[in-house]
Amino acid sequence: MSGTITLESVTKHFPGGVVAVNDLSLEVQPGEFLVLVGPSGCGKTTALRMVAGLEEVTSGQIRINDRIVTRLPPRDRDIAMVFQNYALYAHMTVRNNMAFGLKMARMPKQEIRSRVDEAAAMLGLDDLLNRKPRQLSGGQRQRVAMGRAIVREPAAFLMDEPLSNLDAKLRVEMRGEIIRVQRRIAAPTLYVTHDQTEAMTMGDRVAILRDGLLQQLGTPDEVYDRPVNAFVAGFIGSPSMNLVPATLERAGDGLAVAFAGARIPLPAEALSGRPDLAGQAGRPLTVGLRPEDFGRPGGAEVEVEVTRLESLGSELVAYLTPAGTQDGPLLTARLDRGETLVQGETARVTVDARRLYFFDAETGAALGSGGTPG
């Protein structure tokens, strides 16, 4: 039941000069659910298709279960893939869709039947086995696609945005379902999505890809708490982290960060893990503030103008401009619904200064070891 998916310096050039995947190395551990996430066009699908054997690699090596499969056709890789649009066989019943791979493998009829029945039971498809795909809802098709993948008991699973065609409620439901099934099968899974929420909620680990380049690979907590650069910081978390040009200034013994008219002294805790931050004093950099770090008791106060308020019922999302700036940056803050802000007026909100992030203004690389986990 154990297996790994290994990519080693995998690169893909498309004709016309597009480098869709650039020197990508990662390993999906036995039983692990690894999510490859990034904005549209960053090369996720291409990476997955190379693992499946549907796209040739330009260079690099792919191994499944330590077996080199780089040049093997898809059928010899012992993988199963779930496609974004499900890719069901339209002319076959649900049962035959699921049985197709087993028939190709010349498995005995009896065994095929029992495996399909078992998978159908696991996915709640028992009553739909004789239907054709066009007689199914989106969610049901999704399940059939999952069923077709799991009956084969492959060495590895590949999934390309399998939930993106479902409505929001069903998507949340299916997230849990996919995880439940994957835990049971315990095969290494490489899961692609552009949705960071999906990545954070489903992944054992998350790999963030940008323009074909791997940015960071880590657990959801790691990439949230210690993003290696401003891109990851902005991509992970919802609403996105505020990234604001700022300078570090000396303030007595310590440091303060100044941006857009605001000046926040940094407490010792903010500096303790980052000895090299002091060396950045006087230089321009980018400061990162998570929307959820506003409005915490004990934080530094900043005077802001309330540009817009959105109530989500359970919480309040406020768009703020630091007071006294005309074209200052728009800051997003996630606040308790109890917060008394009025649109168009100035207010003082607190920012948890211990949880600021700092990035090089030019390269975007995290300065120090990133924000300390609270």
Partner: protein, 286 residues
């Protein structure tokens, strides 16, 4: 759009004209076929026969000497034989064309290979060549291959003339078809040809049916090529046979009309059954 009464009238007139234009000859054919020769020639002529009769059909199917039928000689069995020839040729050509064209369309639409664009352009280019430009060369080739007056020969020629259009129509369908199901098949253990046979072809079935109908209809109606390449009943299709019912001096119009009516039935049935699919295919939205 605002419809003025004038436009309404114009529209109705246009529809009536189109219907008369296309249905008129058929109605005329049917009424003529159940008339007698004398009635057809009577002056003043009348449209609806006073004493409808199936004599023309009997003469057509059982044979007539020309003595009683005014110049038109028919041999019993010939007409049915020609109908079967037509059917065999049309169905044979359709089957072979589809095998060739489906594979060609898939290869051109899916597989990346050098000159695939050029091959497609060349194929479509042949559509604009009028048939009479090549008939002489065609006759020589067929004669050398000893395929004159054979159904095989006609089938081969029609595969050649029909496959460009068929390939083009199916190519368009391949381009519209999602890649993923056949990729899923490759992952599920298929080789490329297995994925083609088990997943791609079934996916294209509606297009294939429509193209089959288009080929059968157009081959059924072919006249010039079989006229040139057949001489005896062994391969002569119904379109060619019918012209022989035109007598040298006089013609028995009811027999000619009966032949026309019967020859029309198979394609008419096919067109009615597959009407939706054919129009869909030709409109590019199969």
């Amino acid at each position: 759009m605002i419809t003025t009464p004038g436009m309404r009238v114009a529209k109705i007139v246009a529809i009536v004209l189109i219907v008369v234009w296309s249905v008129g000859p058929i109605v005329l054919g049917v009424t003529t076929s159940i008339s007698t020769q004398r009635e057809v020639n009577s002056i003043p002529s009348h449209w609806v026969p006073r004493n409808p009769t199936l004599q023309a059909y009997r003469d057509l199917l059982n044979g007539s000497t020309g003595q009683t039928t005014g110049g038109t000689v028919t041999r019993g069995g010939d007409f049915v034989h020609a109908m079967t020839n037509s059917a065999e040729i049309a169905l044979g050509a359709a089957a072979l064309t589809l095998i060739v064209s489906t594979m060609a369309a898939y290869a051109l639409g899916r597989l990346r290979f050098r000159l695939s664009g050029a091959v497609l352009a060349l194929l479509i280019g042949t559509l604009v060549i009028p048939i009479f430009v090549i008939v002489i060369g065609l006759f020589q080739v067929m004669a050398n291959a000893q395929l004159i007056d054979t159904k095989r020969g006609l089938i081969l020629v029609f595969v050649a003339t029909q496959s460009p259009l068929a390939t083009w129509l199916l190519y368009a369908q391949v381009r519209e078809m999602p890649h993923e199901p056949e990729e899923a098949a490759l992952i599920d253990g298929c080789r490329r040809w297995q994925a083609f046979v088990r997943v791609v072809v079934p996916q294209m079935s509606s297009g294939i049916a429509a193209v089959a109908a288009i080929i059968v209809l157009s081959v059924w109606g072919e006249f010039l090529i079989p006229l040139l390449l057949t001489s005896t009943m062994s391969a002569k299709p119904v379109t060619v046979l019918i012209t022989e019912y035109v007598g040298k001096y006089t013609t028995n119009y009811p027999i000619l009309a009966a032949a026309g009516v019967l020859a029309l039935i198979p394609p008419a049935v096919l067109a009615l059954v597959l009407n939706k699919r054919i129009t869909g295919m030709l409109a590019g939205s199969s």
